[in-house]
Symmetry: C2
């Protein structure tokens, strides 16, 4: 019944519940931090380099004194989304929850870097919409690596398993990856180094007025 | 299939996926921010003043340059937990998800202030455990207001509705509130002002080495 405890915004009402004048705004927060929050939504095939680029970007930002945080399978699938499996419904709910959490982080003033395959445009668009409705910047970042390269890297042998039919519904093999049509940033990992990719995203953040 | 994209920690492997040396640590983050992250878990009856004290604390912290963020019904029930109702299972899942999100914020270095009735000790203890397992400070804060006072305030007329039987399972009326047995902070709103309460929590953060 937590939401019934939502404080009233009324000022001057004769209960201390009404003491909400001067609530911290997003602007106060941005002023204190020196930058505003946003979500960088990295999407791409398994093995495309999303997490690697996310780590490099996080490092580049933290070293500049910008509070960045990564959301990925590591810290989400074992916690918040530990009760989700891999059915189509659960995958959709996985992305929905991550999108909502990214929105909260962005609202808090954090440069949020999410790294999930998120193969469907519809799911990515929903995350964009909840950000836009909240007035928060959302940058879709396409980590564009040819599937041949991803499959060659295959750091965990997942493509091999998918080819052998041991994993079903694997993105790029027997489940589609919908290429972003108008991403805010497009990273071609076969022609850019990781550092160049991170720099490109820092520039994108500047271009969008976030830094 | 996001978690299959989890980066390997292997260093020196001949793929750029392995480029994770020098990943940002919690210490790097704390150094950049000037403070570490934690969760302050405010629990108490509806109308006890959790959100009001949370707002005052957030303001006190942001003004000191400390990145604080509030999680409450306002920003969670309409987003992340919009697909949850009020069955016992859904209430438990509501608190579980908030606990996991608080943990992520604390990991990011944020002083996280959650304001939920969270009436059951078992649910609060689970949130404590996931923080402790992750090495993150968790401070249970009991917002102690006599139910008579809460009912008198009744800013939204919820107690009135519960007494009339229009709301079932209302904490303190026909559903129990389990008083925290060993909270890290105990705020008695009938003898402390809101500012005194916020100051007490800032002191608790200092005493726990977070600020």
């Amino acid at each position: 019944m937590s939401e019934t405890d939502k404080p009233t915004k009324t000022v001057g009402k004769a209960t201390n519940i009404a003491w909400h004048e001067g609530e911290i705004t997003r602007e106060d927060r941005a002023k204190a931090l020196g930058h505003s929050g946003c979500t960088l939504w990295l999407t791409g095939l398994s093995g495309s380099g999303k997490s690697t680029i996310g780590v490099a970007l996080e490092k580049a930002l933290i070293r500049r004194g910008i509070l960045a945080y990564r959301l990925d399978g590591d810290n989400v699938r074992h916690g918040l989304n530990a009760n989700l499996g891999f059915s189509p419904e659960d995958r959709e709910e996985n992305i929905r929850r991550v999108g909502e959490v990214a929105k909260l982080f962005a609202d808090a003033g954090v440069v949020t870097i999410s790294s999930f395959i998120s193969p469907y445009q519809r799911d990515r668009d929903k995350v964009r919409v909840i950000h836009e409705e909240a007035g928060l910047p959302f940058l879709e970042v396409f980590i564009d690596t040819p599937i041949e390269v991803c499959e060659q890297r295959d750091p965990k042998g997942l493509y091999k398993k998918a080819r052998a039919g041991e994993i079903k519904g694997f993105t790029g093999i027997d489940d589609p990856y919908e290429t972003p049509q108008r991403p805010e940033a497009h990273i071609k990992t076969d022609t850019q180094s990781i550092e160049e990719s991170a720099d490109q995203l820092v520039e994108a953040l500047r271009a969008h007025g976030i830094l």
